[in-house]
Symmetry: C2
Subunit: 223 residues, 2 copies
């Protein structure tokens, strides 16, 4: 109550230590904190500044149990495939263990946020599709970064959404509100920390695809 | 050269003052800074940690001119519609003026970043589509926030991508690399500052859609 949360962590530190935190304590998360996270999420851009987002904050054990069931159904299929493909990849094995933990303990996660978009969703042409999701994922990333800044565990998942029809029924979403992403929130059992990514020169091209900048130190000065 | 950029702006300040900056100076942007922005973008999450992103940094005037032409083609159609719909909305009118400026001066923008995803893009089912774009827009938002932290102007646009076929040809993208978002970068003519958004209780529901938290002060403490 009246607790004050501090989101002043340096931007680069928040980004460099953001990671999916899946193992969460069942301890409650202050409602004011959840609303503040969403308030910061709302600062992200949306296409044509439409701000047509909707955030469902799920705390009711019954609603959570239904989402947990949908999540497990998808995980039973997808996780089995993942295990077979990651047999010789210990790093991926660790991720899969964490996702398994999340599936097993979904009902105990204190808060599940479902980020939705209001409005007609078209599949085609691609520019419509990318503009659509480009109006929700920047806000989701704000939410994740804000959670990181206060050491609240969070992750971005989509598995519980494999059946939109079912999720619409569970959350009472009208036909024109589409669930896009799920963010389980809770105080972490583990902790945030630096992540490893591909080096930037492996994913950057100059002017035309495949024209990589040199990896030599200092090369950044002359793309 | 060797200049050091400081991304330590408090996270909440970066988020609360992020806005689309479309009027940009033609002055060059240091290559090292562009690479550093992309490096921070790479810290964002991707589905199954696939990191299958590709960033094309466009500085070549010829390539820029081709993208500018595609952008204007889409804007001529979409902007006209927008003007008619926003006739009585001065705030939207200001946005449209800025987008018009951007279309008119596209060739003078020093750096255009095109964020792409590598891999098969499917339209169906929706969970595949949302997971796909959920693997690029969090990184785009990191890039925008990082630009904001160093006062570099940036915006998220998709209009130049209306014809994927054409953009693939312009940038030499193979069939399995899909352009998702365009971020023009440059030193701003205007400046960053606080934005106005819908109040959080208008876009949040508790447990089921439409179950809004009370707007009364202090209501956040009891969702």
């Amino acid at each position: 109550m009246g607790e004050h949360y501090d989101f002043s962590m340096p931007l680069s530190e928040a980004m460099e230590t953001q990671r999916a935190i899946r193992r969460l304590k069942p301890d409650p998360v202050d409602d004011a904190l959840v609303l503040r996270l969403i308030e910061l999420a709302l600062k992200a851009p949306t296409g044509s500044n439409a701000q047509n987002w909707e955030f469902i904050v799920v705390k009711d054990p019954e609603v959570k149990a239904k989402l947990a069931r949908r999540n497990r159904q998808a995980w039973n299929l997808y996780g089995g495939l993942g295990r077979r493909m990651a047999r010789n990849d210990p790093k991926m094995g660790k991720i899969l263990n964490a996702v398994q933990w999340q599936a097993d303990h979904f009902e105990e996660i204190p808060v599940i946020v479902v980020a939705c978009l209001k409005g007609l969703r078209l599949f085609f042409p691609p520019i419509v599709s990318t503009s659509y999701y480009g109006s929700i994922y920047p806000s989701v990333q704000n939410l994740l970064l804000a959670a990181r800044a206060v050491n609240l565990g969070a992750a971005l998942i989509t598995l519980p959404l494999w059946s939109h029809l079912s999720v619409r029924r569970i959350l009472g979403l009208p036909w024109n509100v589409t669930p896009c992403a799920v963010i389980p929130l809770g105080w972490p059992q583990g902790r945030y920390g630096p992540t490893i990514r591909k080096p930037v020169h492996e994913v950057v091209s100059i002017d035309r695809y495949g024209n990589r900048p040199s990896a030599q130190p200092g090369a950044a000065q002359s793309l």
